[in-house]
Amino acid sequence: MITREVKKSKMNDNKVVEIKNLIKSYGAKDFQTTVLKGIDLTIYKNDFIAIMGPSGSGKTTLLNILSTIDKPTQGMVTLDGHDVTHISNRELAKLRKDKIGFVFQDYNLLDTMTLQDNIALPLALDGAPAKKILDRTRELAAAFGLEAQLRKYPYQLSGGQKQRGAVCRALITEPEIIFADEPTGALDSRAGKDLLHCLCRVNESGQATILMVTHDPHCASYAKDVYLLSDGMMKCRISRGSDRKEFYSRIIDLQTSIGGDFA
């Protein structure tokens, strides 16, 4: 009880997500495959973390558990001080709505509404005043270079514009953390770069804590820290420092030392 209290107060300082000894297995008793074999990870406010790993290493699984879409088999996951493994679905939905922003590989914008409405939707559903929604939408669109696209429908936008829009939508509720699964996966390198620059900017200006899953070293090099996931374990972690180019070559080195190219 006491330890929990302490933890919570600490968390309020800067811990956003904390996982301890996270285990996830799939399948029935006899045919179980353990995908995550005891993972520890703490994410602090204003982190920008990239998780890399070969295909099938469990990146998406980890992200799904963190974002409360999936449940762990064992272990503890706390999100902003709430133990997400032991709360009701209703509270979970609320937590998801208030604390988490999602960015998906395939954008998932609604094709029935304009980009502006897509970005505004979470806040509107939350019952915020229209004035505030409008201001916030414009502000975010400006930050992501989308002012000119606001009145367009998704089918009129490029992939990069759609993905930046999806990030705006994730940011509009000012979540504690943003989870992004292969956000540049469907983009060409130019559009991917634009998106990552934007993510960096909002992270550096203190507006967002980001956890990103990727297998692309170039993409990962925009993060502040890169974790390597392999065989269901966190293999190592490297931090960027000031030079991105140098960081990129360190990631490549790490990749080769672990064995093989992920992409």
């Binding site: 209703r90 999602f102 998906f104 609604l110 094709d111 409405d117 979470p122 939508r169």
Partner: protein, 623 residues
Amino acid sequence: MSVFRLAFMNFRNSFRSYLSLVLSLAFTILILFNFQNLIYSGPFAVLGGHNKQYIDMLVETVSVVLGCFMFFFLWYATNVFLTRRKREIGIYIFMGMSNRKIGRLYVIEISLVGVTALAAGIGSGALLGGLFQMIMGAVSDIAVDVRFGVSWKAVNVTGVSFLAMYFFFALKGYWNITHSSVLSMISAARQNEYVRMPKTVLSAKAALGAAVLSAGYYLANKGGRQSMLNNALLAVVLVIAGVYLLFGGLIPLALQTLSANKHFLYRGQRCLWVNQMVFRMRKNYRTYAMVCIVGICSVTALATGFAMKERYHNIVRFDNQYTFQLLTNQSGLGEKASALIGGAGDIACQTSLAALSLDADHLVLKYSEVKRVAQERGERFDLSEPADDETVYLSYQMLMSLIVHEQPVPVMIGGKAYLVTRTVRDAYIGYMQREMGCFYVVSDSEYERLKEQGTTLYIHNYKLADDMDFAAARAAVDTLISNTDENFTARVAVDPFDNDTDWIKALHSLCIFMFLVFVVACGCIMFMKLYNDSFEEKERYLVLRKLGIPSGTISASIAQELLSAYMLPFAVIAVSAYFSVHALGRMMYTSLFSIYVVSTLAVFAVFVLCYMLSVAVYRKNVL
């Protein structure tokens, strides 16, 4: 694997996606089957040979209407199915199937659907037939002898006509598939580009629609003699075109404008459902327009049915105002007749008055006399005394007329011109009014003046207390009839057991039947469309849930969206039907407003039911 096995497996494994088509086809079959039942038993069996020619005419008319209806309904249902199915089986192109093979697959699948629907339709028709007839019997005071049996003739007629039309559309689908481009088959371009139309196009459509629709409403209710039928036909065409333009123009424009106003839009779930609605309206406006037109038909049919029933009662009441009426030139005949009839049975009421015969075509009555007689009989009387150069014509209750008189018309009586200021359809002089059609009421002073010129005749009216005494009383009265040179007496006897007008009752039942057909069709079309849509929407709602939007919020948004999806057409139906029922009322010389309200409420009830069903199914499908 053979195409046939593949088709069968598809059909078995994803029966759910075929369900809406099966149900709507089964419904059509049910209607057809019940109509056959209606012909071979039901109200028509009760009516004797008297009304044969009317009934045959009615059955023919309704058969044509039903046939057309079925044709369009099948067209629509198979089209909706084809669009969706094409996308799903289009994938087989990647597995090396040719268009023709896919077309064959489609034909086999849709045949399986048709056969299943036929079995389901006739099965449920046999089960529900009795219930259906009971409902009809309840609403249409005809003693229906309810039969639960299956008439083979009905099964045959239904099966053959359904299958003929159905396979026509199945082959049409085959043709469509074999002539489709690969791209449209796999519909990789699933992007929805019908989301927004240029404002100018919409505005033009909206303006045109509003103009056409108001022209239709205006024509439907415009006065004018003889042109009523032409007006009505033109009005129907205009209203149909107007409704299409309304849903293709004005309503999307309004919704689009609403969704552009962010202060309106960003309020809770509105952001979600208004946008969905705009999208849906652009995509489905033809369906909505069709639902509206069928809905207007259903309200009008029910209103016609109710009006027929009311009119039937009025006609019967009019005709039975008096059982016997005598028109004679002898002054003392009244007492004699009274004694004779009284000998055969009790007299409930008897009245007498004088009339002036001025020429062959006109019998003139005195205002105060008519008033006295009406009051003695207990008939409503609201005539004011005509001026000396005016007259009131006593007419009778008729079923409907396409000619609406509005201006007073002049008439020459005894060499003087009078203006007919009013035509009365109350039975002041009973059945004689209909039989002779030559009664004119003039002011008391004018009557006294005319008295010099004409011969005075006497009218005696008797109403029997008990209908059972009719035959004996008629025999007694008939002894009075004479037609010598100086004496003449004419007698009118109204047989209370006569069923000459029973065909109106059949008309009434048919109207109710048509109402049921139309209203269920309305509900079916809406339901089917939404059911189909819910499959497409699934992805969209999945996204919302991934974003962490609680299912309660999504549920509420669905309810809102479907509510407007149902209420928009309903509003159009209610407004348009008001005008069509009003026009009908003018043809029938009555105000049908209360009937309009009741009929609209009936449609509303069906819509509410379908709405609740849709919401339940929708939620189940997307959540």
